[in-house]
């Protein structure tokens, strides 16, 4: 209390411009060197290596030998003729879009479910979010067994009489990519749910009651009241799932290793393979540059689109 009063009194006293620095100053100006430790770490780990990475993308460096030469756009031209690379770009985009749509759709439904007055709501919140804190590589190894030919998913389908639905979920090139998407939705739908739930709980009850009195049904209330007011939650959820989907590595590595063939390879798994099993550092880093461009375009486009949507609401 006294602190606040003193601060206000200090504000009221006119201080001549030449006395604004030092102990008599009325405004704190934290010094620039507070940013130095963070900047040094950031520059060492992110900025400098990224800049070097962009340079190496135009060379044929193998990661070890000191001798390498500048090959211009050679690596990028090579990607066009490399089916593994073009497929990886396509898989990355498919996974990112599929996860964004399905994970957030499921997450929103779960959030609406546990935001009701059902008695199990608190238990369900904790339970449904739990997979999101589990190490992705660990949950992926679990699912690799569950989705195997003799795994629990096929056993369960057999037990309920759906034998014709049994699949080689990770071994069939037409299905494997969707199995990967399914595993990620299982793990992170609860994450989307928690963010939607925080958004739902910030909507005042009175608005819903007023709309109900005016005769709006449940669906109409959701579409015209809840949905627009959830705009900030949508922004965060879409951003997280798009970027997470584009950078996906752990789950693919553990579930399929990118296979069968290259059927589930993403940009991240291909970057790893090319650099560390094939020793093509230059080519691998060129793929990382492509990944950077995809992430930048997606996040910028999304940011612009959604901030327009948020403005339209307010």
């Amino acid at each position: 209390m006294t602190v606040a009063i003193k601060a206000r009194r200090a504000d009221a006293v006119a201080v001549p411009p030449d006395r604004r620095r030092g102990r008599g100053s009325r405004r704190t100006t934290p010094p620039w060197w507070f940013t130095v430790p963070a900047l040094l770490l950031f520059a060492f780990v992110v900025l400098v290596p990224s800049a070097r990475g962009v340079y190496y993308a135009f060379t044929n460096w193998d990661g070890l030998s000191p001798a390498f030469s500048w090959i211009g756009f050679g690596n990028f031209a090579g990607m066009v003729d490399d089916p593994a690379a073009t497929q990886a770009v396509w898989h990355t985009l498919v996974i990112a879009v599929a996860i964004t749509v399905i994970q957030n759709g499921v997450g929103l439904l779960l959030a609406l479910g546990v935001n009701s007055i059902i008695k199990s709501r608190n238990v369900l919140r904790v339970l449904l979010f739990a997979p999101a804190v589990v190490t992705p590589i660990v949950s992926a190894y679990l699912w690799r067994n569950l989705l195997g030919p003799d795994g629990a998913v096929n056993s369960l389908l057999g037990a309920v009489g759906l034998d014709s639905w049994r699949q080689d979920w990770l071994g069939d090139p037409d299905i494997a990519l969707w199995s990967v998407v399914g595993v990620i939705v299982w793990q992170f739908a609860g994450y989307s749910m928690v963010i939607f739930l925080a958004g739902l709980q910030s909507i005042p009850r009175e608005i819903h009651e007023a709309a109900a009195i005016d005769g709006a049904g449940a669906v109409r209330r959701f579409w015209s009241v809840t949905r627009p007011l959830l705009a900030p939650a949508f922004t965060i959820n879409l951003m997280l799932s798009i970027i997470g989907g584009i950078k996906l590595f752990d789950q693919v590595y553990a579930l399929t290793g990118g296979g069968p063939g290259h059927a589930t390879d993403t940009l991240s798994t291909l970057i790893y393979k090319d650099a560390f099993t094939l020793g093509e550092f230059g080519y691998s880093i060129a793929l990382a540059v492509v990944l950077t461009i995809v992430v930048s375009v997606a996040s910028t486009g999304q940011y612009l689109g959604l901030s327009r949507a948020e403005k339209a609401v307010s």
């Binding site: 992110v46 290596p49 059902i118 999101a132 190490t135 569950l146 990944l291």
Partner: protein, 273 residues
Amino acid sequence: MNRYRARTLTLELVMIAVGVVFAFPVYVLVNLAIRQPSDTSSPIAPTTSPTFDNFTQAWEQGALGGALANSVLVTTGSVVVILAVSALAAYPLARVAARWSRWTFLLIMLGLVLPFQLAALPLYQTMRDLGLLGTPWALILFYSGLQVPFTTFLYVGFLRAVPRDFEDAALIDGCTTLQGFRYVVLPMLKPVTVTALVLNAVAVWNDFFTPLLYLSGGSQQTLPVAIAGFVGQYVSDWNLIFAALVISIVPILVVYFALQRSIINGFAGGLKG
């Protein structure tokens, strides 16, 4: 509007069914982890003669104790550095309107877009030259830089909404700027620090790609890499693998259930902050 009706009961039953579907993999995980290798019945049938041998065997053969200690060291060390340097940097970035401050903030925010795969390979070479490859210090250094943009972003957003009167008062009362930061600003940052702590700790603890790169071949693995190595070694010995998976999940779930409120609020905190 708030009465429990027949429709509410229907919703309750549907949601419980969904919860059971979500929990089903965990049932199979535990069910197979306590099963003897000779038992070849269906994975969904309850195990009739449970054993704990898989756990002791996985713990010893996977060297999971050492990996657990490494994960704790890396996570604690990284999170302490990340929070300290980011909070310190966020203070002038949120309070000073000068051009250098705005440009520095933008420069750091660039890190939100750059995927770490781009930096990871050239940095691998630097770490090798410094002799850090294969040691936990490589990881602590890496995360301390990698997580700066996101954490600084959280702190700056929060600080801009906090009135500066208290800091000004502390200065008038004779504090240095550093003391003002330590005794006045930091305590006010507690809510966003909980969010940053939870999100960073989970991200560092669960990361697999970086330790796979920087620790491969060494003897000091973190838990995710030790698990991956274990799976590679015992390819189809699923009872043993599942026991190892259970061992790696238990510490996370214990912390999660003990601190569920703070953790869930931490994840949702990006929205409010």
